[in-house]
């Protein structure tokens, strides 16, 4: 079983669009994991049926029992997250600031503080219109530990692929380079970078590549909307060559793709030209992973 993670650094370069296109082409030979749990979009294109859902708890948060609290203020003094405040000797905890470290619970002399599990989201296992199974999630706003939810989504997808003897796991990652991104690439067979010719996207690509290099992962790249700015496209090509990242193909800017996305169809289902490009991306990935 091989796992392909789609990343970009910068948001909005076309990760989901490319990931969903590959998912359509892979059909029931793949399990799909939407690891952009912050702002999951894969469901808009693959139409999962939300068949099985379960609450996901991760980490904890502090709760003060004001009937026992003696208002000594020790918790507020010790909290490094400025999560505890008091008005008229009534102490309260800001749930958006509390990181669930539990220090206040340990040191409260009146034992007025307890940690309770924090519901951070919902995990789903669905069937998609491509005939594949998909693992995805929704997250509570402002939840901590989106990295943990990413790991759970991914592990579940891998387990399902293994149980069903499927060859591929396709993972749509998040923008940036922080904990959800690191969690999504841990243990992957390959990272597929989707970028576009803008100074911002190139800057962000270089930074996320620094993180990918720490994991020594096979890396490939497609340049989306390459014809928007040919001189930056050339800069990207040079960067890819220097970093020995295999440059799979370029995707032209195409109004039909924008329209297709608005109608919730993937690039692979837009026009013969786009279908051809999507096919070439998917076959290059397969070749490079099967050879290895």
């Amino acid at each position: 079983m091989k796992e392909i993670v789609i990343l970009s650094g910068k948001g909005g370069t076309g990760k989901t669009s490319v990931a969903a296109s590959i998912a359509i082409l892979a059909g029931n030979s793949a399990v799909i994991a939407d690891c952009d749990v912050d702002a999951a979009n894969m469901h808009l294109l693959l139409k999962p049926d939300f068949k099985q859902g379960s609450d996901f708890y991760s980490g904890e948060m502090s709760v003060i029992n004001n009937e026992i609290c003696t208002a000594c203020g020790l918790c507020k003094e010790k909290c490094r997250f400025d999560a505890i405040s008091s008005t008229d000797k009534v102490f309260s905890i800001d749930l958006f600031s509390c990181e669930g470290c539990g220090y206040c619970e340990i040191i409260c002399p009146a034992r007025a503080i307890t940690l309770v599990p924090r519901k951070t989201g919902k995990l789903y296992i669905s069937g998609t219109r491509a005939g594949s199974q998909m693992v995805h999630a929704t997250m509570e706003p402002g939840a901590e530990n989106s990295g943990k939810l990413v790991s759970v989504v991914k592990q579940k997808a891998k387990q399902m692929a293994e149980e069903n003897g499927l060859q591929w796991v396709i993972v749509d990652g998040s923008p940036g380079l922080g904990c959800p991104v690191v969690a999504s690439m841990a243990g992957a067979s390959m990272v597929l970078l989707v970028t576009e010719p803008s100074v911002s996207a190139l800057h962000d690509l270089k930074r996320v590549n620094e993180v990918i290099k720490n994991f020594h992962l096979k890396t490939a790249c497609v340049i989306n909307k390459f014809d928007i700015n040919l001189s930056i496209t050339n800069e990207i090509r040079e960067f890819l060559e220097k970093e020995k990242i295999s440059h799979l193909t370029d995707i032209p800017f195409n109004n039909a793709v924008a329209k297709a996305m608005a109608d919730e169809r993937t690039m692979a289902e837009t026009s013969p030209e786009m279908t051809f490009i999507a096919n070439s991306i998917w076959s290059s990935i397969k070749t490079s992973l099967i050879e290895s």
Partner: protein, 292 residues
């Protein structure tokens, strides 16, 4: 949210790549034509504002987080530290205490509960904050070192630094990270008004709904910018009307904007139709934010 001077405006979005940075830098530049303005790049994982604001680089402030360091000579292996750590950043392996710095949230519990002072908190560099001055615009940028996974501490430090340096500015603009999880909350929670940038596609709408949910939980008033208007359909506008959300401005879908932005150029002063739109946005933000 106690002091409203200067007015703190957060530019955010659920989905990445909708044009947060485009709105932030062009708005700051327009305001900077006539008055002092502070622009703060809080997308510390992938900061891009500096690509658009050319200026003289001022001071660079190295930023550190604190992580415990094991002093084996003092340690008596009582194991209080590992039992107190909720993040598994401190673990006892036989008669060794192992520290996993990337998991540490710097709550200080292990360090302060240690009866032997065997876990002093020590500095670990996570990134830097740079200051760039360009005419009346001051840009403060947080930049996380690639490989560091936690964005929140650096976002908080950037906020702190800005607060300590309340220069003579009527308004501060904070360019925030994408998503809806902890980094976004850290970035927007100290702001007075939230500008959510979206695009008129199913993706934009899906993620706008998530962002509005977060804003409502944080009780921060929000207005909407529809970027790339004309790209998709009317669903975003309709939804905003139903939810009684203010649409501050609509920026048309235009290939010339994309071309200028891709090269790291400001666009508001190069396209005739654009400058009045940014002027309207500025007025709309001021009116809405001051009427709260």
């Amino acid at each position: 949210m106690t002091d409203r001077n200067p007015l703190k405006i957060a530019i955010a979005s659920g989905k990445g790549g909708t044009g947060k940075t485009f709105i932030a830098v062009n708005l700051a530049a327009l305001i900077g034509e006539t008055s002092n303005i502070l622009l703060v790049d809080l997308d510390v994982e992938e900061p891009n504002d500096a690509l658009f604001i050319e200026g003289t680089e001022g001071q660079v402030y190295n930023q550190y987080s604190l992580v415990p360091k094991w002093d084996e000579n003092k340690c008596i292996i009582c194991d209080i530290c590992s039992k107190s750590c909720k993040y598994h950043a401190v673990a006892r392996l036989g008669d060794i205490i192992a520290i996993f710095g990337k998991l540490c949230h710097a709550c200080h519990a292990c360090s302060e509960l240690c009866p032997q002072d065997a876990l002093p908190m020590t500095k670990h560099k996570i990134g830097e904050i740079r200051k760039i001055v360009s005419g009346k615009i001051t840009l403060v940028e947080g930049r996380l070192n690639p490989g560091e996974e936690q964005a929140v501490p650096l976002i908080n430090k950037t906020h702190d630094l800005v607060r300590c340096n309340t220069e003579n500015v009527p308004m501060q603009i904070f360019d925030c990270p994408p998503g809806t999880s902890c980094p976004v909350v850290a970035a927007v929670k100290r702001c007075d008004y939230l500008v959510l940038v979206t695009e008129p596609t199913p993706f934009g709408l899906n993620d706008l709904k998530l962002a509005i949910k977060t804003a409502r939980q944080l009780k921060i008033p929000a207005g909407i910018v529809i970027n790339r208007d004309g790209l998709g359909n009317q669903d975003v506008e309709e939804w905003c009307r139903n939810e009684k959300l203010d649409i501050l401005v609509k920026i048309p879908y235009d290939r010339e904007i994309a071309r200028l932005s891709s090269g790291g150029e400001l666009a508001y002063d190069k396209l005739d139709f654009l400058k009045p739109l940014f002027a309207n946005l500025f007025v709309a933000i001021k009116n809405k934010a001051l009427s709260i």
